[in-house]
Symmetry: C2
Subunit: 418 residues, 2 copies
């Protein structure tokens, strides 16, 4: 993409009303815009990242048998009333329509997916199924100060699984867990994201959170490096040792909950009467699980973790562009240098390399360099008088201080191999 | 995709509370599910179609310089108050948050995009720009009886264009018009979709609608076959002749508004103070246009138009799958026939042909045929004892009564060329 065509611009001053680092950096770099507390627009660069995060999640959900659907935002009161959550779920945004019907905006979708599946699930042969969606969700938070890590409006992937019995739910729950680890690895949060025991409810002893170590996190977890697991502070009894292996080296960390998975068992199938007929002809309740990840929260978390004093350092798979190509030049050689950089840009595009090309004539080298650092594409390539004198371009990774000259003729080949 | 893995099923009886044909057919075929009047879930087959419609629109918007963004659903009252629409736009769903702030759910996004662009537009060099989004929109309709043709909640592509002056707006408006014709052509509505003069407002004499001839449409238009244009009945003065060419053969038709475009001029830039500095250093108001298409309404319209008594007949580019492969067999030859059909399925997938494969053993031929007709993929391919005796499969287009046998070895090649 030509940077001159991008309608957003980087912003020099961090917005004063924004307290979280992730939102400050993303607003300054032109990825998002704040409409109100906890409510953001995703601008062209930001939407590219959000879409890439969603794509990674979608691929891994499809790989374990997920079927993508899209459920509504407006959910009638009667659905919530069935489970009692119209009264008990305090984050619901409620409203009344012209038809005098009451609705709440979807904060979670068990009250939609369960009666929906009742229309298609009859026999044990129809199980298991794992529908999921990537949809905007709403939480009526009193305060929203964590940027896109905790929005009033945010994107969410929520999968629901339906099983003939607890054993099949247990089996799939482990499959989903592994898929989640794969997702966080691909999103650049591998190694610092821990499966974390958290409070359960009447229907299961624990739930599991995926917590990413992050100073800006709202949660506190205790990590056992022996088990490679963590326990949320909320449920911990003994802060001195791991409840699983007894390890005494239990370290406390601030963390962000980037995902969570629950065994719901019959909590929702029961009120909605979701039953099936087993192979003996008996009616049985369906066992359910649910599995959430928020792409917008992941995006905020990545920014909190992957940055330096100059800007964002995007992980490869979710960067808005793989390459940021900068054209620098003296006035006299502008036309020649631009011709060379244009050719390179064209060649990269032909090879399917995603590239943001800063071909703006009115911007100086200093501004182009600092914008490239702020935006944070993984590879910066500079074409200038100096590099062209060597028949080369300068290649520098965003996460490294070193740069090298690469012959222009070899550059695209090297990029497609990296 | 294996049909046995699809969690939805076709439904024999049309739902009793659903009056529109499009929703009846889409519910019966397992594309959508009704949660409440005007509020639907998109199931796996339906989401595939919706995504394909969005993709066509996205490609054509990108081709004319559009930049995709995503704006919020929750829009604060103060934004609507600036333009007076908090009071005048009667379709707004309004609600109050825990923070005592009032919001309306986005029914349109001028009140968000205009102040947003104010942060990035300063000079004539920054113009024109054409941001757009594909986002869920909400309209607080008293009644909602037209299926997904008029929802309380629906998907919408809305582009907004920003220009230095009326002349540049006029220029781009024509470009957008042509892009819209291309979109409707690709969506299978070419030839029956007319640019239609409709009521304007204080800021422009007319707006333009794109109206598709459709018996289930809520609008009435008068078409001049000479001008290849139409006029909405709402604004017509003389039903006897075309106001442009005077043609007396003015025919009346029921139609669905599948898109609309407006020259907004300064209607929104003025209240939000959206100005730029021209090349003479003078402050000027930005001229705006807006351009809408609803992918979910388009989907409903296509179903109203492209069907026969047996089911939906999807246009090629938006069909959920290009091919519906049916495996039929006597019990004795099941294993052999399945092996042949599996091979064919594998080969098609390797060639990137999208195929729904009905490999269910428990379903008879009659049921498979009628489900294939109901779902409506463009090409049906049958592998059976009879066809395999000839080393062939039977190929039939959904929109034709004729079928032919094609040698299995030649089939994939023929499909990739069609």
């Amino acid at each position: 993409m030509l940077q001159s065509k991008l309608f957003t611009k980087t912003i020099k001053e961090a917005p004063k009303d924004e307290m979280s680092f992730n939102a400050q950096a993303l607003i300054r770099a032109g990825f998002i815009d704040k409409l109100a507390a906890g409510i953001y627009s995703f601008l062209p660069l930001g939407l590219r990242v959000l879409d890439k995060i969603s794509r990674v999640i979608r691929e891994e959900m499809d790989a374990i048998g997920g079927e993508e659907i899209l459920m509504p935002v407006l959910i009638p009161k009667e659905n919530w009333a069935k489970t009692g959550r119209w009264e008990t779920l305090d984050v619901l945004f409620k409203l009344k329509g012209e038809d005098e019907k009451e609705y709440a905006l979807g904060a979670t979708h068990e009250e939609v997916i369960t009666p929906l599946c009742r229309k298609f699930l009859f026999s044990y042969r129809d199980l298991p199924i794992m529908p999921y969606q990537i949809q905007i969700k709403f939480r009526n938070e009193l305060r929203a100060k964590a940027g896109i890590m905790r929005g009033r409006e945010f994107l969410m992937k929520d999968m629901y699984s339906f099983h003939a019995d607890q054993a099949d739910l247990d089996r799939f729950y482990e499959v989903a867990k592994q898929a989640y680890f794969k997702i966080f690895e691909r999103l650049g949060l591998g190694g610092i994201t821990y499966l974390t025991y958290a409070s359960g409810s009447s229907f299961s002893k624990y739930s599991h959170e995926f917590q990413t170590i992050c100073a800006a996190g709202e949660d506190t977890i205790f990590i056992c490096d022996n088990c490679r697991m963590a326990v949320n502070k909320e449920i911990i009894k003994d802060q001195e040792q791991c409840p699983i292996c007894g390890n005494k080296k239990f370290r406390e960390e601030k963390a962000v909950e980037v995902g969570n998975i629950f065994k719901l068992a019959n909590k929702y199938s029961q009120p909605f009467g979701l039953e099936y007929v087993n192979d003996k002809g008996e009616k049985k309740e369906v066992a359910m699980g649910c599995y959430g990840i928020g792409p917008s929260r992941v995006m905020g978390t990545v920014v909190e973790i992957c940055h330096d004093e100059r800007g964002i350092v995007w992980p490869k798979e979710i960067a808005p562009f793989k390459v940021h190509l900068l054209l620098l030049s003296n006035k006299s050689s502008w036309e020649n240098n631009k011709k060379e950089a244009d050719k390179l840009y064209q060649k990269m595009r032909e090879q399917g390399i995603e590239v943001l090309y800063d071909e703006r004539e009115e911007k100086g080298a200093g501004e182009k360099f600092s914008e490239a650092d702020l935006i944070g594409c993984p590879i910066r390539i500079v074409v200038s008088d100096k590099t062209l004198a060597e028949g080369s371009a300068e290649v520098k990774k965003r996460n490294s201080a070193d740069s090298k000259l690469v012959k222009i003729d070899n550059l695209v080949k090297e990029l497609t191999q990296s």
